[in-house]
Amino acid sequence: MAKPLIEIDHVDMVFTLPDGQRYPALKDIHLEIHEGEFVALLGHSGCGKSTLLNMVAGFLRPTAGGVVLRGRQVTEPGPDRMVVFQNYSLLPWKTVYDNVALAVRAVFPRLSKAAQHQRIQTALEQVHLWGAQHKYPAQLSGGMQQRVAIARALAITPQVLLLDEPFGALDALTRGSLQEELMAVCQTVGMTCLMVTHDVDEALLLADRVVLLTNGPNARIGQILKVPFPRPRSRHEVVHHPSYYTLRQQVVDFLQQQRRRRAVAVRSAAGTGTRKVAVGFLPLTDCAPLVVAQAEGIFAEYGLEVDLCQENSWADLAEGVLSGRLQAAQMLAPLPLALAVGCQDQPPQPALKVPLVLSRNGNGITVSRALYEQGVTDVAACKDYIARTGERLVLGVVHPASMHNLWLRYALASAGMDPDQDVELVVAPPAQMVYHLEAGHLHGFCVGQPWNTYAERRGLGKCISTSLDWWAGHPEKVLAVHRGWANDHPDLEVALVQALMRAGERCDIPKQRPAIAELLSRPEYLHLEPDLIRPGFAEPLATESHYPRLHQFAVGQASSPLPAEGVWILTQLARWGLTPLPQNWWEVVHTIYALDVFIQAAQALGRPDTIPERRQFALADGVLFDADNPLAYLEQFPIRRAIDYRTVCLVEREESPCVP
């Protein structure tokens, strides 16, 4: 990949308040912006997004880390990073022309008068204000004034345009037309832009990537969404794009989650020094061990006061544990590994560790009723369907670093389809999949139970495969704990693992399952009819005879983390360009998988404490995976992205900086 134009390199910002207290506004922000890219910073007000912009502009110096533009560190403001301010910042004693001229003359003093004039005129023509050049700002409307400010910025051809809520003060109608104008101008010039906004639709319309910041203090990048709409864009096309609503929902969910966060943070802060643990989960059948441990008092037996926090999405959960709001969480098996090696251009973040596998299997692929009736009865049939209709199928997965995504991609690629080109994969939280299927945003999805059954029961879709068809016994959900918390509370960590191991064993007793389904159906957990939860869990799934293997919790040492499986996950993340493939793959897996904690807990319970020393295995397709040679395994796949094979530094930055 080309060198980024701007690198915001592990930036911290701490403000000293007037009363001498220190307020940590931003924490460890890492973001790379490439030439021609439009990046939107989104977050609640006061989260530090303008602070971040001001650091790129050079108005503020970060407390730690730095901003690099084309290989040079930013130390002061300059015309190569022109800013468009929210309140226009035109000089009221100068005409429109003179406002632009002041900038042009300051930046290009050697240019001839005629050339300067040409620049000014071109810029004003771009924003359709040539003709009003002799007016004073006070004679113009707010929208026109902001157009002058944009023209002033364009006239000096900066390397990057920084926009600080540029349309925040305008009425909706003006804002709409200015957004389209800005988009058109940036597209023709190929301008790199960084924009701060709190308008979700504005971000999705304009940006190539939306960077979501968590709430301060210590605001971090919570999530980065790629906006896949093709350019040139128009508002109409964007709004009617199949993935618009799933993306929008993701952003809105994130923002809502951030709003709730403060209350929870206060609650969990009160619990320091006690045996309180905030554990996050998502409403799915395979959260059963957590629910059972809570409801049947197993946590309490180990002296834990567990606060089960239901979250909206996997990204929220990961953010929750990383920020310390949650101490532990049910998590997608690939997610801690992906964070550790740096997912989607984020820096490596080995802050989570995995002492336990919570569940295996349990996912299904469902296609819409219409698709099924047109003969898409398995994944391979998608190929014929696409060839026949030319339709671009939109399929939902729950997170980029999920077994769902890896499975769906694996299955599509095995059937000769490129998951990035032949179909479109979009991310949506599990509980919203059926809604998106019903609304027609999705043609199908890969999701955990009970949502496949739910779609079927509502007559919206048909489950065409379960993950048993792909890899019987794949690790699905793991327990992820925050490394810092675990270091401070090793006893609580082991107690948590013990409690969940016992709860898992309970969940694997077939006789117990109807009662557990009943338990899961409660409003505080899944809030669904037990009828919907039982298939595949307490009774065979309609199309399957696999019951009860569709959900495994403890049987056959299901709960032990197997390093070889971790390596396999790393290969697949790298296969689709989500992460680099670490040269130090064993180190990565052994750092994340806390086998010592697992063994300690197993010993305390008197369970088998040996981790199977399995280095080779095969999925249902019979292709042998050798964990000692992941690159060779990857290279035999004809459909894959370029592999970024490199050593990943796992040291947490605060302790000792990693020199490349």
């Binding site: 300059g78 800013v83 910042s89 009221p92 004693w93 300051a106 004073y136």
Partner: protein
């Protein structure tokens, strides 16, 4: 509502509601009333001053021949006022130049501001006449001493308002200048001066008012020539009517000066509704 408004309109003719007519007319009525009350008070013996009719009779010459020239200090009231104005012009010009310059420097530097703010705060409330002895001691001459008093009286509000003006330059303008890396000169000329002008003119207006206040008092003490001395001289000669007419002129000139500076300010900041 509508019927009530109609009734009101019928009571006052439209031409009388014209703002100019209203202002001038009512002002005229006010003056007349004032003179009437004055006249009455004198007639009733409650006020031991010449009545307005008496004043007009006594000062006919002065009003008709303001630029009369006699010998020595004997000159018409117009000349006296011009002399005073000359001193004010001199002192005030110095004060404007020095005050704006110092104000810009102090306003632009928080360091200098902190250093000089105490001095400003202490010297600002010193009454103009308190400066007279020290300036006489310093200059050993009446004329420069009087000009200095004008200067020192007018300079504080000019400095302080300029400082505030510079400090109040909106952060956005400064940010724009920083992003564009404007040269010091460009920043001064294109941003700082225009942004500060309204504040400077507020200071100048206060300054000119104070100058005019100070000159009358100073001239009473210094003697020689000028409207202040004229008043003092009239008092010594018990020409109360002359004092009254002189006071009227002093007020009038003060008003004109204030309006001139205000108009100049409006003219210069034209187009920039700051």
């Amino acid at each position: 509502m509508a019927s009530r408004m109609l009734v009101q309109q019928r009571r006052v003719p439209a031409w009388m509601q014209h703002p100019l007519v209203r202002k001038v007319g009512l002002g005229f009525v006010g003056v007349l009333l004032f003179l009437l009350v004055w006249q009455l008070l004198v007639l009733l013996g409650l006020l031991k001053l010449p009545a307005p009719t008496q004043v007009f009779a006594d000062t006919r010459e002065l009003i008709l021949h303001p630029f009369y020239r006699g010998t020595g200090n004997d000159a018409g009231i117009g000349w006296q006022i011009l002399f005073s104005l000359r001193r004010v012009a001199l002192g005030f010009s110095f004060a404007a130049i020095v005050g704006v310059a110092i104000g810009m420097v102090i306003g632009a530097s928080p360091l200098l501001y902190d250093a000089f703010d105490p001095i400003l705060q202490v010297l600002r409330p010193v009454p103009p006449l308190a400066w007279l002895p020290i300036s006489l001691a310093a200059f050993k001459d009446n004329e420069p001493a009087a000009v200095f008093v004008i200067f020192i009286t007018a300079v504080w509000p000019i400095i302080i308002n300029t400082v505030v003006g510079v400090q109040q330059i909106p952060r956005d303008y400064r940010n724009v200048a920083r992003v564009l890396r404007l040269s010091k000169w460009d920043y001064f000329w294109h941003v700082m001066v225009p942004a500060t002008v309204p504040y400077v003119f507020t200071g100048l207006r206060i300054g000119i008012g104070l100058s005019w206040l100070a000159i009358v008092a100073a001239e009473m003490l210094i003697g020689g020539v000028g409207i202040g001395f004229f008043i003092w001289d009239a008092w010594n000669s018990s020409l109360i009517s002359e004092i009254v007419i002189a006071l009227f002129y002093v007020g009038l000139v003060g008003l004109v000066l204030d309006r001139c500076v205000a108009y100049l300010g409006k003219f210069i900041t034209k187009g920039s509704e700051v």
